[in-house]
């Protein structure tokens, strides 16, 4: 039996008069590795951000671990503490060292003391193969290393769901591999992940589900094999444009 981690029901969001999400509904089960594909401006990032309420949807319901997510301080805090978010631009706190960046949520949300939190943070950094960089500041790390710190920061809270917002888009091509390897490892460990990415190969190899979006709507929600063999005009067009780019 599969249990549901996340249920999005009829989510709509518009900024001013532009409608970014139209009646988006989908479900994520424990252990799913869901990749969201689509062109720029299709609403992928907005969708990801509504999940942990960084963006408040105009209508629709979000259920996370069977709790309805509403605009309430306590509920949002507890939901966010169980959802790890990895940003495109890493967004590490620049005046904190790598280890303190990872320890910060433990201290501030789980009320741990710094000593305990750093111990746990160190383990998380070892998991992303940054054991030797714990005391470095973000500006002393490469993009790939910064992103791995970002992943460690998300992991340290032992989240039920990990969200990746184009985690490799801001990286040098040569640094994409190290981040992708960490993500692949996480998927093998059975973590539940939603990944917005342009890395088609990750979708092909690692995902067990693909959602394809266009103009704020989900066009296709299927497994990778049938996605890449789809006859749909939109998907074919998208895949062609991506393969041309590569």
């Amino acid at each position: 039996m599969k249990d549901t981690v996340l249920l999005m029901n009829n989510i709509c969001k518009s900024f001013g008069s532009t409608c970014v999400l139209r009646n988006v509904s989908f479900k994520v089960n424990r252990g799913d590795v869901l990749v969201i594909l689509g062109r720029s401006g299709a609403g992928k990032t907005t969708l990801l951000r509504t999940i942990n309420y960084l963006i408040e949807p105009n209508s629709g319901e979000i259920y996370f671990n069977d709790t309805k997510v509403i605009n309430n301080r306590q509920i949002i805090r507890s939901v966010r503490s169980k959802i790890g978010f990895v940003f495109q631009n890493f967004n590490l706190i620049s005046h904190l060292s790598a280890i303190d960046n990872v320890a910060l949520p433990l201290v501030k949300v789980k009320n741990m003391n710094w000593r305990q939190a750093r111990k746990q943070a160190e383990k998380a950094l070892i998991d992303v193969e940054l054991a030797d960089k714990t005391l470095n500041y973000p500006s002393q790390l490469s993009g790939g290393q910064q992103q791995r710190v970002g992943i460690a920061r998300a992991l340290v809270m032992e989240p039920d769901l990990l969200l990746f917002d184009e985690p490799t888009s801001a990286l040098d091509p040569s640094l994409v591999g190290e981040v992708m390897n960490v993500m692949r490892k996480l998927s093998l460990l059975g973590k539940t992940m939603i990944v917005v990415t342009h890395e088609i190969r990750f979708a092909e190899n690692t995902a067990n589900r693909i959602i394809f979006m266009e103009n704020g709507e989900i066009i296709e929600d299927t497994d990778p094999v049938s996605f890449f063999n789809s006859n749909s005009v939109e998907i074919k067009g998208f895949l062609n444009s991506v393969s041309e780019a590569v």
């Binding site: 805090r77 966010r80 890493f90 501030k108």
Partner: protein, 267 residues
Amino acid sequence: MTNWNTSGSLNTNPRCNFKDWVNMKKLLSRSLIIIVLSGCIAIVYFSMSRVYPFNWDVTARYYRLFLMGLEMTGKLTAVSLGFALLTGVVIALLRTSKIQVFQDLGTIYVWFFRNMPLLVIILLIYYGLGSVFSIDRFWAGVFSLAFFEGAYIGEIFRAGIEAVPKGEIEAGEAMGLYSYQVTLSIVFPQAFRISIPPLIGQVCSLIKDSSLVSVIALGDLTMRARQVGTQTLASLEAYLILAGIYLAMTSILSYIGRKLERRLAIL
């Protein structure tokens, strides 16, 4: 800061040679300026002393007055700096608040105190308010300075707060931090670091502006120098000493500021 190669070995790294060359140029230019400048000052001084009999001895005898003035200026600056920083934090919080009324209050405060001459503020508070409530000279001076500089410091802090990358604030929110936690552990530490250089400049201004309190007969450096000048009839000497003391104080402060900035720099 000079990077002389003290090891004695021949340094063949071209970048280090370049650095040495840059340092050499710095040293040369500075010694040149010092020599020329002291020459100019000496010429001016000696040509002036033909018509004006400089009398340093008599001013030196009044050094106690200068010390008293220095103490008052120091105390005044320190206490008003404390209040000004407090005012600055409050103003910056008001100005960056999401609540419109708070924003407007902050804006009005800054508008008023930045558009009012400090001298007028001092007169208003001491003679104006002083005719209604009894206000001690010292506290009138402190609050005038604190209100005035608080407006500028508030703007410095506001700029610092707004310079913190939005993504880091968002990261804090995504972790589940409450907004006050985001402010305290992400925004403030960085805003403070960003604010240090302009803040040091503002503290220098505070020291200089404090000379205006001499109008309410608060015995600060400027007033004491004037006293020495009138009592000894050696005004130029007294004011030259005064200028030297202010310059020394602000220079020391700038030096400390640069050190602090370097120590707290986000690498």
